[in-house]
Structure formats: structure tokens, C-alpha cells
Amino acid sequence: MRRLTHNLPFWGLLPAWLLMGFALILPILIIAAVSLATRGSHGGFSWDFNLSGYSQILFNEGWSGELEFTPQYLLIIGRTYLLAGLTTLICLVFALPVAWYISRQSPGMRALLVYLVTLPFWVSMILRVYAWMIILGKDGPLPRFLENFGLAPGTSFMFNDGATLVAMVYTCMPLMVLPIYASIEKLDLTLIEASHDLHGNRLTTFRRVILPLTAPGIISGAILVFVPSLGAVLEPVLMGGGKQMMMGSLIQLQFGGGRNWPFGAAIAMVLMGLVMLLLIFTALRAARRQAGMEATA
């Protein structure tokens, strides 16, 4: 008994360790191992470790085994980052006023509006994306409506990057609104009045008081939107038509039809590595700011 209580931190954290170990660390280790394996001739892979999975990202192997640089996958990675970045930016621009508006309502109204923001999560993602396909597609409500303003009949807004973006922004929006709302709600409104009182106009007040004080919420919202956007599969395939691939679809393809698991795993590792870099960078910045505050103490 004495030993049990002595080791309480260990036993208490055991479930967390198990979860982390089996659901996070083990899969990552497996993927890392697979990324170093060799593609089998009839699908699958063999445990012959080499870096060919990674080199395939940059180089094409010619018939005679010579390596030839190919930008094909770099372009996909670049496009993925661009679309994820755009998604984050658009979400931010929309989420700020929405979060601000919600925070200015009565408590009851606020609870209702927060519930409404999360409402899309209650419906299967596939259904939501299909809904957008219908809205934007040929003879859908939006083109039909715009025909009144001179749009050529039979136009479809589907199967391009714009459509992908619409669906990604739509699915990610709550992830941006909620953290920003949480930080705006904590914002003391008399600080805004104090800024106006001290001759600050709206822009100054936004830039020098509201923005710095809600930055933690904006940063978490941006991470919560950007990271899943990098791995998005459904939206690019269904909305973008899958003609122009993104990293998520590329990985899926390698594990599926492409039957090139090591290559798929290598791309997944690169994606994860880049995300980790981003997270480490933000964490370092936050730590530096914290240290800066303590140094003045």
C-alpha cells in the first residue's frame, strides 16, 4: 500500500501514458519505420531500410536507376501549404468579427450562438461536403441564383481550388471562431474604453489593445485550422475533383491504389516534420515572451 501511494504519480498517469503510447507514439514509430522500408514488388513492403521513400519526393528513378530531379511533389507540397494558409487567413478574417459579435451578446444569447457555431460538427463531414457540392454544382442554388445577374446558364463552380477552399474554410471555421471567442470574452471591455479615453481611435485601439490581448486565441485558432488543413483529403478530392492533388490525397493514394507504402509514409513524415517545426516555433516565441515578462520582474 505504501509503495502504491508512493508511486501514485506513476499509476495515476498510466492511462495517459498508455493512450499516448498506443494511439500516438507507436503509430508514428511504425510510420517512421515504414518510410524507411522498401516497396514490395506486388504491394506491401519489405524491411530493407533505405531512404528511397524520401528520395522519391524529389527525384524520379529512371529506367536505368539514375535519379532525375522532379518538382512534381514539391509543387503538391507547396500547393498544400498555400491552400492551408489561405484557409487559415480567410477563416481568421471571418472569425474575428463573428467572435467579437458573439462576445457582445447577453450570456444566454452567447451560449446559443456558440452552440450554433459548433452545429456543423454534429453532421457527418461527408454530408456537409456533399451539401456544398450541390450548392456550387451545375444547376445548384448558387449558380441558379447568379444566373439572374447574367451568369451563363449551366455554369458550375465545382472542381477547382476555389471550391476546395470554400469547403475547407467552411469545415474549419468553428475551430477558428471558438478560441478567438474565448480570448475576446476574457478581454476586459474597460481596457477598450481606456484606450478611447486616452485618445486612441478605433484602429489604434484594435492594433494596440485588442489584437495583442487576443493574440493567444488567434494563434491557437490559426494552428487548429492550419494543421488539419494540411492533411485535408475529403475536400480536395470531392470539391477540387482530385485532378490537382494535395498532400493528404497523395499520401492516401500511396497507401491505396499506388501501393507504395514507404513513399506514402515518407510524405507523411515530411508533413509531420513541417508541422512540428511550426509548433516548435510558436512555442519558442511564447516562451520568449513569457521570459521577457519575468525578466522585467
Partner: protein, 357 residues
């Protein structure tokens, strides 16, 4: 008053939903005046102050600052600064940055901003903390910085919303003097809000007593305390005994009354009518025992006493009514009169006041 008028509030009304917070309030504040708005919680003090700052606009009526109608001028364009009740210091800025904020917005030059910021922090004895953040300060220190920040842009009018209410007693007393000195030195018009009557009496040139969304009385501290115009003011400012009396004869500002304490002539509010009225007699105006000199003397019985250190408050019975009286504890012993003991009390009718009931 031949001073310039810094603030004119003219027939201002304000409702929140169906609740009327201000009912046609009017008053003027002179330039360089230390003006206090005193009243119980919820009487509309903050609402009035926010109108001067520009955060609230009147439903009807007008607000003039330095003879200019300002109803449509936004807060950041008014030469008015506020010391907020919660201080509202920017938590992400150092004290220096907090104080400089208003100056930067006014477009001052860098060098002038630095000089002024240093000077203001010096003025409130906070120079040593210039590069700290507000979270690292005590309540009293924050209060000082809030003061420095509001004074830095050289406002024409400084608004203070219960700035001392969060401080402990000793600090509050010290800050009263400091505020008063600051106002004298700078010559800036101070509009001070409090629900603490002692604070108001101590610091103000003039006091406006607000009650139920209306101005009850405006006057110097002595006028407010010694010559209250109605029962509300007499009751809210200081302690007093109220007695039901009958006015037998009324003149301009005096009345002959019949009361449980006798029939006598006392100062009265204007336009007193014959008939029932209220007499206000403050506890310290009633003299006890050997100190009982005065025109009116009575036999009384001590019911209970509260020893307060410098004073003892007695509850007495005299002429069939209960009275509160206070006596200075002049010597160390033998001052306390035990309960049940008979004692002589006396007062000057001139120190009582007849009010409409």
C-alpha cells in the same frame, strides 16, 4: 460664481430600458474646481461621468465642456481623461508604455513623450517601477499609475470614478491628500465620484448629492452637511436624528416648531409650510452631562453606548423619543456613562434644522 464653466450639464435624462437612471439633471462645474458627485449605489454617478467622457450619450438634454456642446464628439477627441474604478491599466504594456499611450495618440514628439512620462511617474512616486507590468504592482501602486496615465495628456478635465474604493483605510487617507494637492498644483478641473460621504466632505470644493437619478443638492461641504435641503441629503451625508415635529410659524429660513424636545425656533429650509415637518439633529450637536450647555436642556436616560475610541456613541431616551448622541472622550477615564443612568442633555436650536417631511 465668476469662474469659467468647465462643465455644463443641462437637463440630461437617460434611461436603460424602462429604468430611468437620470431624470433631467442640471448643474455646472467651474474651471479648476474639485467637484464631487456623491450618492448611494445605483444613483447614476457613473452614468453621468461616462457622459462627460463620451461613453454614454443623453436621451435628452445637453452636455457642454468649456462651453462647447460635445454630445456628438467621440471620447478620443475630448480633452478629458478618466481614472477608472478598476484602473484599466493595459496589462501587456509596461507602466512607461501605459503612461505614454495617450501622448503617442496625440502625436507628441518622442523626446517630449519620454520627458512627460518620466515626469508623471516621478509625480506619483513610481519612477522606480517604470519598466514593470501592471500585474507586478499592488493596488495602491496601480492606482497611482492610472492617475499618472490620465494626467499625462494634460486634460482640461479629469474624471475619477471611485478611485479610492479599492484601497485600504490608511492608503485611502494618504491618497485623499495626494489627490487634493495634485488638483491644486495642476489646476485641472477634477470631477470625482464617490459614495463615501467622508471622502466627499474632505476633498471637495463643491459637492452634488445625487439620489434616485436626480440632483438633490449642490453646495460646499459645509452647506451640504449643515444646511441639507431635504431629508435625503441629511440622511445620506453624516448621521442624524430625525424627529417628527409641527411647524407653528414659518419665516424665510426659520421656523418655530413644537417637538418632543420642546418648542423652539430653528433654521429651516425655504418655503416651509405650517403643519407636520421633520427636525434633523446631528448626534454631535447634542451635548451630554457636564458638557450639556445649550439653550434647550432635557433629562435623558442612557439606553446603550458604543465605544469608538475617540468618541462614544450613546443611544438615549428623552422626552419620549430615542436619540443618538456622540461625545468626545476628552479624558481617559470616567467619560463612559453606564446604561440606565440618568443624564442631562442640551443643544442649541441653531444647530438643528427643520426639513419638509
Amino acid at each position: 460664481m465668476d469662474r469659467d464653466k468647465a462643465v455644463e450639464v443641462r437637463g440630461v435624462s437617460k434611461s436603460f430600458g424602462s429604468y430611468q437612471a437620470l431624470k433631467s439633471v442640471s448643474f455646472d462645474i467651474g474651471a479648476n474646481e474639485f467637484f464631487t458627485m456623491l450618492g448611494p449605489s445605483g444613483c447614476g454617478k457613473t452614468t453621468l461621468l461616462r457622459m462627460l467622457a463620451g461613453f454614454e450619450s443623453p436621451d435628452s438634454g445637453a452636455v457642454l465642456l468649456n462651453r462647447r456642446e460635445v454630445t456628438s464628439i467621440p471620447p478620443h477627441k475630448r480633452r478629458v481623461n478618466t481614472v477608472f474604478q478598476s484602473y484599466a491599466l493595459f496589462p501587456h504594456m509596461t507602466l512607461e508604455q501605459n503612461v505614454a499611450y495617450g501622448l503617442e495618440n496625440l502625436g507628441w514628439e518622442r523626446a517630449k513623450i519620454r520627458a512627460r512620462t518620466g515626469e508623471m511617474l516621478e509625480r506619483v512616486h513610481m519612477s522606480a517601477f517604470a519598466s514593470r507590468k501592471p500585474a507586478q504592482l499592488s493596488g495602491g501602486q496601480r492606482q497611482r499609475v492610472a492617475l499618472a496615465r490620465a494626467l499625462a495628456p494634460e486634460p482640461e478635465i479629469l474624471l475619477l470614478d471611485e478611485p479610492l474604493s479599492a484601497l485600504d483605510l490608511k492608503l485611502r487617507q494618504a491618497m485623499r491628500d495626494e489627490l487634493r494637492n495634485l488638483q491644486r498644483d495642476t489646476g485641472i478641473t477634477f470631477v470625482f465620484v464617490t459614495h463615501d460621504q467622508e471622502e466627499a466632505l474632505d476633498m471637495s470644493d463643491r459637492i452634488a448629492v445625487l439620489g434616485a437619478g436626480e440632483v438633490q443638492q449642490i453646495g460646499t461641504p459645509t452647506q451640504i452637511y449643515e444646511e441639507p435641503v431635504n431629508r435625503f441629503v441629511a440622511d445620506f451625508v453624516g448621521e442624524t436624528n430625525f424627529l417628527d415635529v409641527e411647524v407653528l410659524e414659518a419665516q424665510a429660513d426659520r421656523a418655530v416648531i413644537r417637538s418632543a424636545l420642546g418648542t423652539f425656533e430653528a433654521p429651516a429650509t425655504k418655503l416651509m409650510q405650517k403643519g407636520p415637518a421633520t427636525l434633523s439633529l446631528r448626534p454631535e450637536k447634542i451635548n451630554l452631562g457636564d458638557q450639556a450647555a445649550g439653550v434647550i436642556t432635557l433629562d435623558a436616560k442612557v439606553i446603550s453606548q458604543n465605544y469608538m475610541g475617540g468618541f462614544t456613541h450613546y443611544t438615549l431616551e428623552a422626552g419620549g423619543v430615542t436619540l443618538r448622541a456622540s461625545r468626545r472622550n476628552a479624558s481617559r477615564q470616567g467619560d463612559l456613562v453606564p446604561s440606565g443612568e440618568a443624564i442631562t442633555i442640551g443643544f442649541l436650536p441653531a444647530s438643528a434644522r427643520v426639513l419638509a417631511s
